[in-house]
Symmetry: C2
């Protein structure tokens, strides 16, 4: 089976879950499938609405737990754009985001750029950038020392 079909079927998720001794549930499969069907990042609420088509009764806590799990497994990405609700995205390639101050829409900015040229790259796309925030996530020296 090709990588694309494997992903479409969620076979990769099944394997990751088995490797960790976690259960394969229909909620997990459907949520990942829905996330992959989308071109664009979606809020938890948008995903929930779509998921309930296929799996009525899916609950909010399950959705959040599953999204967190998918992020942990590297199958999804969480984007905190500062617009209230967090966004989720199954795109794993390196890319950044642009948030419109007015309409709140989020646009992709593909590839790896020099930080100082990102505003220019955005401008080429017609986006009038007035600021950029980069947040690095990880473990500080103290916590890394304490845990490892």
């Amino acid at each position: 089976m090709s990588v694309e079909n494997e992903q479409a079927e969620g076979q990769d998720l099944v394997e990751l879950l088995r490797a960790r001794g976690q259960r394969v549930t229909s909620q997990r499969l459907v949520i990942l499938r829905e996330l992959r069907r989308r071109e664009l990042h979606a809020t938890a609420e948008e995903i929930l609405d779509a998921v309930r088509h296929d799996l009525p009764g899916t609950s909010i806590p399950t959705l959040y737990a599953t999204l967190e799990l998918l992020v942990e497994l590297g199958l999804a990405r969480k984007i905190d754009a500062g617009t209230g609700a967090a966004l989720y995205d199954a795109r794993t390639e390196p890319h950044q985001h642009m948030v419109c101050r007015d309409c709140g829409r989020i646009f992709d900015l593909d590839g790896e750029y020099r930080l100082e040229s990102l505003v220019d790259a955005a401008k080429r796309l017609g986006f009038v950038a007035d600021g950029a925030e980069l947040v690095i996530h990880g473990r500080c020296a103290d916590c890394a020392a304490r845990i490892n």
Copy 2:
């Protein structure tokens, strides 16, 4: 008066407010002064506690409104680190942030870096980075066209 004293006294804020026909209130002056006194970014709650020392009775809505105003005036910066509460900072120089997954502390990363070398820069500071999110804020092509 030197630029430093001007800032310490909030004279720059006074001028910006007058230029916009907005009122100079003690709340606005005290909140900016408190923000400038700090080395590190602070949450709204932390700022409120400190401000109430100088100006008891200061309210939460006023605090948020003032912080938003300061950001709009370019005197402060809002950092959405994805840790629940937003952070505010009176540092205007270009710098980025690192968030510890465990203790939640935020560390500064000064200067302008190449995006792909930021993880290395963080590593040099003992920070074990496992991801970076860059969010560009501004106006999308559609909104820019509609407004200008």
